[in-house]
Amino acid sequence: MSQQSLHGSGPSDDENSSEETAAGGQVFASAQGADDLLDEIDSVLESNSEEFVRSFVQKGGQ
């Protein structure tokens, strides 16, 4: 695979594997990182969730 390993840290991984070794580079991000992500979600989440969800109407497909 061209980008990075598919394989995250598992029980068989090196003892020394640190937080950075997971696939994607930083999967086990810090709690701060998680909070930042939630803040970012807040910043792009449709401001009126109720109305957004109500207006999301699709026709059935296959």
């Binding site: 990075q4 598919l6 930083q26 909070d35 979600i41 989440l45 969730s49 207006s55 026709k59 497909g61």
Partner: protein, 581 residues
């Protein structure tokens, strides 16, 4: 590898002709303009197809698109799958007659529809013309088809032969959707559109992400059904996209593993829009029907995680390879597991993110989805050819993710979509103390699949490095304009790119070329590997060469076995109902 494996030279591999079709969710980007009416969704879908097909510079001359040829399911008339005909329209009758598809077939001088070229003008004027003409189809230079299906724009990827190519071409479809949205956003006087890669509005409507696999015809279909029911009911724990809300209308609050599970009512059947079956029987192979069937898989979720798409295609292809090997050797490979009620099991498994629930088997046993998946993995692994890199990659991923789910699912949040979504929702929920019925959680679910990069919550995860990736953005950009080399999509895509004005139409197994002198040639490619880059190179066919040279090379391929024109050159229309779903 086992001695029982019929292809003792190799063992099971992921390689097979396959592809993915994605129906996008579609909304007017302006919240107050949303009517929820079908007419509106259909009109917006046409704008998406028209915008990309007629206006995007990557798709050639402005205002010009390549028509779709609906006649692609018609059988070849020559037993070798090859013929040259003059003054022949193609037949409309579908039969299951025997044909050897190792050679292309060429019809000449068939009547054509008049070309449709948009008038010059602004983007809005071109789109208005497209709307009047109801232009709902275009063939792209990567060999894909972009069109309006029901009330959704759909991207049907070109045929590929590996799971990785499938990921690349599926991601290319996301870029096509993004480009269409950008074009509409930039054009004056047309609505701005938002596209979503998901499967339901949470209000009872569902739309599909279908996989297609070419499968040896000689595997009895009853056996296909028997083998796939337990596999399809359980593979969701590895490749499900996750969904907020239980039930087709999401009336019961909660989180479930699969976005599609609640929309399935039957074990097996032909329907795709109601009473959906776990195993769909639709079977137009767009290939030699004597040797192949097309397995049209409608149960999969729309996946944004590349690892999910990769594993979904790879594991399913390996299970199908096991079925083919069983048929050839007479020796059973796949586990003997008959679910007592597959439809109920599908739902029960989806509704249990703890993965502890058991489902009853016909023989009285009670197993978890984890156990059923492990049985499949072990059976396939025992007969697989691990010297094949992609096969080994798929098996390793399958094994690692299963192990993670068995022990600590959070470890799989970077590679299993429902786990990623669940984790995100749980942190958001915990922080704000929300319950599962909260609209914000439903909004997060919907916006996870928003394909506008600035709005997409999946893109946020990806940008934060929280999900594994398999292909680079640059590779994806290239794939938008480059067909896979491994199938006839290569010839189709290259001709569309380099001879757009001379390609009158294409279907999956047909390309119609119109030369400047008015002569037309219809090329039938009944084997999906005919027209691949290696095939073209062996033939000395350069799709970028002048059309007469291309035609000469095709005629050369045909020359050895050319047949005398038959008397039954019946006239027929190239227009029919869409056979591709």
């Amino acid at each position: 590898m086992s001695d029982q494996a019929p292809d003792a030279r190799r063992g099971l591999v992921t390689e097979r002709v396959m592809g993915i079709e994605t129906e996008f969710g579609i909304l007017d980007a302006a919240l107050d303009a949303r009517t929820g009416e079908a007419s509106s969704s259909i009109a917006l879908s046409h704008l998406v197809v028209g915008a990309y097909g007629l206006l995007h510079p990557a798709e050639g001359t402005r205002g010009r698109r390549v028509r779709w040829d609906y006649g692609d399911e018609s059988p070849l008339r020559d037993a070798r799958g090859f013929e040259i005909r003059r003054a022949a329209a193609h037949p409309t009758q579908l039969t299951d007659q025997v044909h050897d598809a190792h050679l292309p077939s060429i019809d000449m001088d068939m009547p054509l529809q008049a070309p449709e070229i948009a008038p010059e003008g602004s983007d809005a004027e071109v789109l208005a013309w497209a709307a009047r003409r109801s232009i709902g189809n275009t063939v792209l230079s990567n060999g894909a088809r972009l069109y309006v299906d029901h009330a959704h724009p759909e991207y049907s990827s070109p045929e590929v032969t590996s799971a990785r190519e499938a990921v690349l071409q599926d991601r290319a479809g996301e870029v096509v959707a993004q480009r269409a949205m950008e074009l509409l956003a930039a054009a004056d006087g047309v609505p701005e559109v938002a596209l979503y890669k998901n499967n339901t509005d949470g209000k009872g409507a569902s739309y599909g992400t279908h996989e297609n696999y070419l499968l040896a015809r000689d595997v009895p279909f009853e056996r296909v059904v028997q083998a796939l029911l337990p596999f399809f009911a359980t593979r969701q724990i590895l490749v499900g996209a996750g969904r907020v809300g239980l039930g087709t209308r999401g009336t019961e609050p909660g989180f479930q593993i699969s976005s599609r599970a609640d929309f399935f009512e039957e074990k097996v059947g032909l329907e795709t829009t109601l009473d959906r079956p776990i195993v769909n029987t639709r079977d137009e192979p767009h290939a030699d029907a004597e040797r192949h069937r097309r397995l049209h898989v409608i149960i999969g979720d729309a996946n944004l995680l590349e690892t999910s798409t990769f594993l979904k295609m790879g594991m399913t292809s390996l299970v199908l390879a096991a079925l083919e090997a069983e048929q050839e050797s007479g020796a059973r490979i796949l586990p003997v597991l008959e679910l007592a009620d597959p439809v109920q099991a599908l739902r029960d498994i989806s509704h249990d993110p703890t993965l502890t629930r058991t489902v009853p088997l016909a023989d009285g046993r009670e197993l978890t989805a984890l156990q059923i998946q492990r049985a499949h993995l072990e059976a396939v692994s025992a007969h697989a050819d691990r010297t094949d890199p992609e096969t080994a990659e798929v098996l390793d991923l399958w094994s690692e993710l299963l192990q993670a789910l068995e022990t600590e699912p959070a470890r799989a949040a970077d590679r299993i979509e429902w786990v990623a979504k669940h984790q995100l929702l749980e942190s958001y929920r915990a922080r704000a103390g929300l319950d599962w019925g909260d609209a914000r959680l439903r909004a997060i679910d919907l916006q996870f699949g928003d394909l506008r990069p600035q709005r997409s919550l999946f893109t946020k995860l990806r940008s934060a490095g929280r999900v594994a990736t398999l292909v680079s953005d640059q590779e994806v950009e290239e794939a938008v304009g480059t067909p896979p080399a491994s199938t006839r999509a290569y010839l189709r895509g290259r001709l569309v790119r380099h001879h757009r004005g001379e390609v009158a139409s294409t279907g999956w197994d047909v390309i119609t070329l119109a030369a400047e002198d008015g002569s037309t040639t219809r090329v039938r490619l009944a084997d999906p590997r005919i027209g691949s880059r290696p095939w073209c190179e062996a033939l000395g066919l350069d799709p970028e060469a002048a059309l007469p040279d291309v035609l000469e090379a095709l005629a050369r391929a045909a020359a050895d076995t050319a047949t005398v024109p038959g008397p039954d050159a019946d006239a027929g229309s190239a227009v029919g109902t869409d056979p591709s779903h």
